[in-house]
Subunit: 193 residues, 2 copies
DNA sequence: TGAATATTTAAACAAATTATTCATTTATTT
DNA sequence: AAATAAATGAATAATTTGTTTAAATATTCA
């Protein structure tokens, strides 16, 4: 197993285990076992358990972002892009059990924009994706000329809040309909009439 | 909390936690926390962690047996009793997540009839329930005169096997239809024509 | 009430588990 | 075959966990 090729294997296995037991209850050996390797070898890839966890969460966030990006890249209309992005971001939770579980175990993965967000860099990918859509939409004259940076952060905050709420209390279907209504509110405030 | 009244609370909380994490990963403190009490206090009720686990499983098995017994006690026809018992025993897993989980974590809960079965006494409740039904059915002339003890054990073995199989590999719907077919086989071999 | 009894706590300790390191071995590349 | 990279497994340090215990608090009932 060459180093370059194996990192994906390592973090997807690690995600699986962390998602199952949570940070505290998974041992480094649990993950090594899942990978059919020894603990010692794992420490070639990460500094310590916390580093392993952080990199695992980053891996999970990137996979989620790839899914969303892939779903909108061929769309031309900024309004389409925006709506599909919002829906796909939430729908992804239905198809990735591990991602969903890790969000429930650790609500800090999606922190509000605080001073030291460990995942700031990666969350900025999402914010930048939104930024581009807004910019494009404004340029094409289909969005009102809103403040791009602040609005992007606000929108990201809203749907990450829904993502967490929706799956911590997934029984409550009214959360989903609230999401739809909020989305309607955002877009109808955003679109030109 | 008086001692007499609290044992049920203790073991149902304990069941919940053991079912969530499995024996190894749950700590005595996890259970104490769930009960809003300290570890030290728990040791007034049980000898050690293993004793806590054993009593918890016994509690779970008794709850399951009560459910089945309750469903058949008002039935008169031994054939009804038999069929309902078999179905209810399996269906119970759908309504008690903790029971189902603990079975998956610990397949030894339903051991085959080996020399030292820690739950022998409680599993015998089930066997005796079957025995009574068979005896009654034979007396009333609706069952063939089979060997009651051996047949009861055989029947219990069959449905406990299905219970475990069904929920370890619950995706596979063919397991359920196999159960129905096996039940059909048992009853049509058992009933007089 | 208040003495007797039952329940709960919190701290302490020993034993077990876990994270981490490292010298050595095995595999791969050049 | 030499050099480099990857993996091992055993050893150690740090932390967690199971269990005990003395002291505190609550409950019972004479």
């Amino acid at each position: 197993m060459r180093k370059k090729e194996s990192t994906e294997k390592i973090f997807s296995a690690s995600l699986r285990v962390f998602a199952t037991y949570g940070y505290k209850k998974t041992t480094v050996e649990d993950i090594a076992r899942e990978l059919n390797m020894t603990k010692g070898n794992l420490y070639l890839y990460v500094k310590d358990k916390e580093d392993l966890y952080r990199k695992t969460v980053e891996f999970a966030l990137l996979r989620w972002q790839d899914y969303v990006r892939g779903a909108i890249e061929d769309k031309a209309d900024p309004r389409d892009k925006f709506l599909i992005m919002c829906h796909k971001a939430v729908e992804y939770l239905s198809i990735d059990d591990d991602f969903r579980s890790i969000l429930i175990h650790d609500p800090e993965i999606f922190p509000m924009f605080t001073d030291n967000d460990p995942y700031e860099k990666i969350n900025n990918n999402s914010v930048n994706m939104i930024k581009k859509i807004l910019k494009d939409g404004i340029a094409k004259g289909v969005f009102r000329p809103v403040g791009i940076t602040a609005m992007s952060k606000a929108i990201f905050s809203i749907y990450k809040m829904f993502i967490i709420r929706m799956y911590i209390r997934s029984e409550e279907s009214h959360v989903r309909s609230m999401f739809e209504q909020t989305l309607d509110l955002i877009t109808n405030g955003l679109f030109k009439q």
